[in-house]
Symmetry: C2
């Protein structure tokens, strides 16, 4: 869903403020706190770091009752969290699901929700470890997914270096186009995004990616976030756009759940991974944290959930 | 908040169903899944087990805008999760907070919410590791708290044995009484519950408790849950009730966040821990999983959030 928002007290601002409040410094075992796709926790004496991500999926914000079946909502709820795990190169371990449902959502709807969620969970080896349930006016699902990476190996968005090549997987804008059309292959893609878990591990293990994140809010906004985290400027060309999609959808459309990553320029990146195209779209440079498309600043118009009044 | 509900498709039923769906068996590293206060995860090679709990706090279900300040809501949101960690004898590590707010909740409200939450977080050594934010019609907070215990040492509700003595901490019914009164010390207790973290570690380390859980939904319902998990029958007397409270509040009132635990009958339990009374209220026996008060079955009338239509 593409929404335009340039409010100053946007999600970025609020996250910044909360991060400031959350200091003094978190526990030593918390390697990375607020601001990346996942928090990173290092269990005592363990060979693996644990990744944690949390995502809200809300009726009439992220989906509509009339157009999204219960199974689709359950699937998407988990897929969004898994995508964050993929972005850090992790393997999923378990999830916790909190669900609130209004009166219209009967047992059948709740069953469908869990059926969709568990189908993806079983396919990806994610255990359902717990959750909470309550009644409210709208369907609200909050999911926490835990993943694991070998100690110290998580891909972060702050690791890009000047000179690194910028890549994206797949073709962008498909989800936004699907949402606009409301049917067909692109719509199905919007309903059932595929978290790029295998790709995430591949770019971490084989390509030695320096930074990565998933494209959940649109390239223009997400790449700017990577620039801000890494303290770099990105110069890009037009990214690969899905068949039938337009430039606007490709640059700003959210919910593609493809991966955005950087690798040192000397690294040979294959043209595709398991049939999914990997395309170089630009280069990182020293400079002010912003994105330039053919030398002109690209406004970050992606999806920004939060704009406090 | 004391609510009466005897619907057959209650939370217990739904949890049972979801647990069934969640099989085939979860990952080996997930020691305990759905059904206890926390899920237990065993990181590879680690000396500690990690505990995870998730809790929803919803406007007009768990609190009201008119009577609960933002700081109180933030505090309570974390306190509920910490209470689950306490029940397993754990030490808190970090939390993840997802918050949805309606139009009336301005920046000041959100600030207040985080101020209340972070005050308790800092006092208990809980890092705020991340979260999500969105707009919706009602305030909904979903919190995940992670705690840790030495490997294999978590207190569970399924560990009670026939002959064990049953104990509760504190005096019960205070929160229900506070809610009914809307002011005074009991009301403050309702607003700002104190998770019994130090007590949880004490009963695990010093008393070698066999089972424990926190009293969130009322003694009658929570003790029945412990009976069901342990496959035992409980015989109890009237528990200690808060000053001014009635029997109904003491037996069925929710949100006291005291600890309910069992110890082998030979264990000498002190009368108080750090000023908090520890009172023996009964004994566990072999038999059908139910609670008897002076030999008569005690109906489980505690707070049951979920009753599917």
């Amino acid at each position: 869903m593409v929404k335009r928002n340039e409010s100053e007290t946007s999600e970025v601002e609020l996250v910044r403020r909360i991060r400031r409040w959350a200091s003094p410094a978190p526990a030593a075992s918390l390697v990375l706190g607020i601001g990346d796709d996942c928090a990173i926790y290092r269990p005592r004496g363990s060979r693996e770091d644990l990744l944690f991500t949390t995502d809200l999926l809300i009726e009439d914000v992220h989906f509509r009752r009339a157009t999204h079946r219960a199974e689709d909502v359950g699937w998407k709820c988990l897929a969004r969290g898994l995508s964050d795990i993929a972005a850090m190169g992790g393997a999923p371990r378990f999830c916790l699901v909190s669900l609130t449902v209004p009166g219209w959502a009967d047992t059948r709807w709740v069953n469908g929700f869990y059926r969709g969620l568990l189908r993806l969970a079983q396919r990806t080896g994610t255990a359902l470890a717990g959750g909470d349930l309550a009644r409210t006016d709208k369907v609200t699902c909050d999911i926490v997914v835990c993943g694991a990476v070998p100690r110290g190996r998580a891909l972060r968005r702050d690791g890009a270096r000047a000179g690194d090549a910028i890549y994206v997987s797949g073709r962008l804008g498909g989800s936004a186009m699907g949402l606009a059309q409301g049917s067909g292959a692109a719509w199905k893609r919007h309903l059932r995004p595929e978290p790029r878990l295998a790709l995430g591990r591949f770019i971490r293990e084989e390509l030695r990616a320096t930074a990565a994140m998933d494209l959940s809010d649109g390239l223009s906004l997400d790449l700017r976030r990577m620039c801000e985290a890494s303290g770099l400027r990105a110069e890009i060309v037009i990214p690969p756009i899905c068949l039938g999609g337009n430039l606007d959808q490709g640059l700003h459309g959210g919910e593609d759940y493809e991966l955005l990553f950087t690798v040192p320029s000397r690294v040979r990146v294959p043209r595709a991974f398991e049939g999914l195209p990997l395309t170089r779209i630009g280069t990182m440079f020293r400079g002010k944290a912003e994105v330039e498309l053919y030398g002109r600043p690209l406004e970050a118009l992606g999806w920004d959930h939060f704009a406090m009044s």
